[in-house]
Symmetry: C2
Subunit: 206 residues, 2 copies
Amino acid sequence: MNAIKIPDIIIGRLPIYLRALQLMVEENIQTTSSQELGAHVGISAAQIRKDISQFGEFGKQGTGYKITFLIDKLKEILKIDRIWDVAIIGAGDMGRALARYQGFVNRGFRVVMVFDNDKSKIGQAIGEFVIQDMENMTEELKTRNIKIAMLTVPAPAAQKVTDLLVKAGAKVILNYAPVSLNLPEDVRVQYIDPATHLQRMTYYMV
Amino acid sequence: MNAIKIPDIIIGRLPIYLRALQLMVEENIQTTSSQELGAHVGISAAQIRKDISQFGEFGKQGTGYKITFLIDKLKEILKIDRIWDVAIIGAGDMGRALARYQGFVNRGFRVVMVFDNDKSKIGQAIGEFVIQDMENMTEELKTRNIKIAMLTVPAPAAQKVTDLLVKAGAKVILNYAPVSLNLPEDVRVQYIDPATHLQRMTYYMV
DNA sequence: TAGATTGTTAATCGATTAACAATC
DNA sequence: TAGATTGTTAATCGATTAACAATC
């Protein structure tokens, strides 16, 4: 369908544009320009125009972009013009925080299950969920056709659990464990590890 | 001191190398090669050698890198051969999870304070901390010379709180709020927003 | 010594920026 | 119409990879 392959670095900027545009809508702004959007997200106007134009001609010379229209297009491109079911694996502090996180609303995701292997946790409630036995994870994910997982298990367990997730058909993993994961080519991962993120900034400290 | 400027993209990979090397140490491995390390983190051997060689000649032809030595060097380069005090701003679910997170040990950071502006939370305990009044934040950060903050306040408050942090002398911010922050040039930020991270992966879903 | 692996150079590949015709 | 701003091309800039002499 897409004639040319879009670089991943461009895909990575689209959610940032989207977030800024949605903020503008909340402020009742109707229209914006690459210049203005760039100022909001700290990216050059030229780059924003180039990025967006990969997918079509969504703007108008002289007037810029109609925000609601651009939002719809970006959502469609990113395939978040729908709601994806997400499973949380690991009901520690981080898993619990994510289970109760309100920030997925209107952004394309909804948590539907929380798993843990700790017998003393299984059956407990977190927010609106009941912690389920990890023994049943593979089966449950398959049955409910869940493709997205947030991984909040301890680091030593992360690779093993990941292998199970892959077997269960997961294609997208948000990994909170501080380890690099080994994955087949068709499974994507993003790493969220506070220490690693901090470590890449301290270099610049005077 | 550094004659040439090192690209940020290289700095960003060093913590990943470091994490993998520390894992190797735990497995009692003494020595590694760019090839082997690359296999662990999913980066080409050539790139790893190039990255590391920006900072000195840390390897030996024929035998590779002595892991403990390389770890020490990387820590020194990243300025995490010390312990940085970190403040958590916002005692919601995410702030609480971070306050109790055990993953900072041995990685260069230690949480020392948690702030919130909710009167009903102030004075409460989270793990080993007592939630402090955000009114006192600027003063406390200055007094204790804290340069690093993890921002876990609601999105609408993030920019305002950030401005306060900057005034208080913060140079590094880990932002969990789903908004782009406006910052002076000498203050660094990394964004940790689960929805944004997921959104950049759904594009590849079939 | 022979094999392995670094550090580095040159070649390639990819991303960003500047500039401007087109046009709203 | 005049001013503004897009989409796109060409130029620049930067990052990655391939290859290999040096050497442990």
